[in-house]
Symmetry: C2
DNA sequence: AAACCGAGTTTCACTGTATGAAACTCCTTC
DNA sequence: GAAGGAGTTTCATACAGTGAAACTCGGTTT
């Protein structure tokens, strides 16, 4: 590994001091946060300001993140490859658990699969990107619903609850109980609710106020997906979800999701 | 002035290499663009990548702007002060031309004044932030309409064209001619079209595809606002508009405008 | 009004770090 | 298998980045 450039690293640390809560910081605050002498910090701030990465409020003298970031974010968002951005994570998960895995967003009363990696096993579930499935009877869908308000769920359920299999949820009562449990334990399970002989587990990615953004799931043949097995898979899914949040970040994920939904995603 | 930090400046230059057209760049491309040896460039790229400001496509090896920018842009956007961000520019303009000046966005068939600085003169026009005026008979409004499609303009005009003064435009024909001229010369003029004895000139801020984002205008008593005077003011307005675009940038301006409009701006 | 304080800014001598030429390693292509 | 091109590592050197300290400028306290 190449030796990092100290001054640059320090400057980037300065930028990372700014958060949702701490929009605006003074020289002194920053130099305390990064543990650098004020003179050094000052020079870095000036450089950053000179290139529009920071700007300074003339009145308060405090620094703010500059407009440059909005320009750059636009470019960054524009070249995110909707089809493939999640693949590395899905592949990791599929390798970890050896099953078909997919990542979904919620659009109205349906989930849309925005990324899929199929299992390497002989008996596997075929799934394809762009597929839309009803939310109320799929693991991914229920992972979303469990973190919506009751009124939002109700309005989604009112769009219809077709019966696909003997175990498709039919009573709203029961479904609400399921969703409550799902919220408590943090993962959703569908046992042949949409297709016979197919089970699935899903874990949502939530923002800080517990709103669901994405749902990651593993799907497989019922005989391989016992309840215990599915519970065991939750751990793998969770850790991949964490990796996604760490590498990409909640704001970026939200931006990607809204880009996908607005593009009327379908392959 | 403090001496800038060379390595940091260079690294920021690297970031600025990425544009709408050139999303993804290889080491060699970047080192050519910034005129630095590959080893230096390489180390900087690694540092930037390490802090999520860049990421590298494993397949192609090319660099992209990182998700970090989306996080930061969120923060930056959140702490833009809707009320005051434009004040320095408005003050500059007001000082330059000695008149009441304002900045407006278009919302449906109305313009909303999002920033105002009143003239220091005895006879001046009172104007206030948050005020909504009809688009079809104000300088700011016409500055917008002139750069919309005919069908968009028509649908706005269909919302009504009340007659406020003897010179309020009444015939769509005539108004369209006015708008065509406005587009050609790049500024809009209203001579007592909304209030008697009050004239105004407005110059829009356009994006690259000539869509109007904001309109900056100077308003004053008709006796001081002869046609020649208004034409002369266009220069001052233009140069302040340029300053806005340079300092803030088109993408950021768009983001600010949509933030304002979505917030149902009203003081 | 003098003394004090805290925040920001500038100075300057020192040294450790960023630098870039060159060497090296994989690739792909001819 | 030689040639070329892209990325990566090495290393000696110079000078760029550093930070202690001095300075400036408001505001506040004595």
């Amino acid at each position: 590994m190449t030796t990092p450039i100290r001054s640059l690293d320090r400057a980037l640390d300065i930028l990372c001091c700014f958060t949702q809560e701490e929009h605006s910081l003074s020289l002194t605050q920053i130099s305390d946060l990064v543990n650098l002498p004020k003179s050094t910090t000052y020079r870095m701030l000036s450089s950053l300001e000179g290139k529009r990465f920071l700007n300074r409020d003339n009145l308060t003298g405090k620094y703010h993140l500059g407009y440059q970031f909005i320009d750059m974010a636009n470019i960054a968002l524009q070249d995110i490859d909707i089809q493939n951005w999640a693949l590395p994570f899905l592949e990791k998960l599929s390798a970890d658990c050896g099953e078909t895995v997919d990542l979904a967003v919620l659009d109205q009363n349906q989930v849309i699969y925005i990324g899929v990696v199929e299992s390497k096993q002989r008996v596997k579930i075929a799934a394809s990107v762009g597929q839309r499935l009803p939310a109320f009877c799929t693991a991914s869908g229920k992972a979303f619903l469990a973190f919506l308000s009751d009124s939002q769920v109700t309005s989604i359920l009112n769009k219809g609850m077709p019966v696909y299999t003997p175990t498709t949820p039919r009573l709203k009562e029961k479904l609400f109980t399921d969703l409550r449990m799902t919220r408590e334990r943090g993962y959703a399970i569908s046992e042949q609710e949409y297709e016979t002989d197919i089970n699935a587990v899903a874990v949502p990615i939530l923002d800080r106020s517990m709103r669901p953004i994405l749902a990651m799931s593993a799907v497989g043949p019922a005989y391989r997906f016992s309840n215990e097995r599915m519970v065991a898979l939750v751990g793998s899914i969770r850790s991949v979800n964490e990796a996604i949040v760490n590498e990409i970040g909640i704001p970026a994920l939200k931006a990607i999701v809204s880009k996908i939904v607005n593009s009327g995603f379908s392959i």
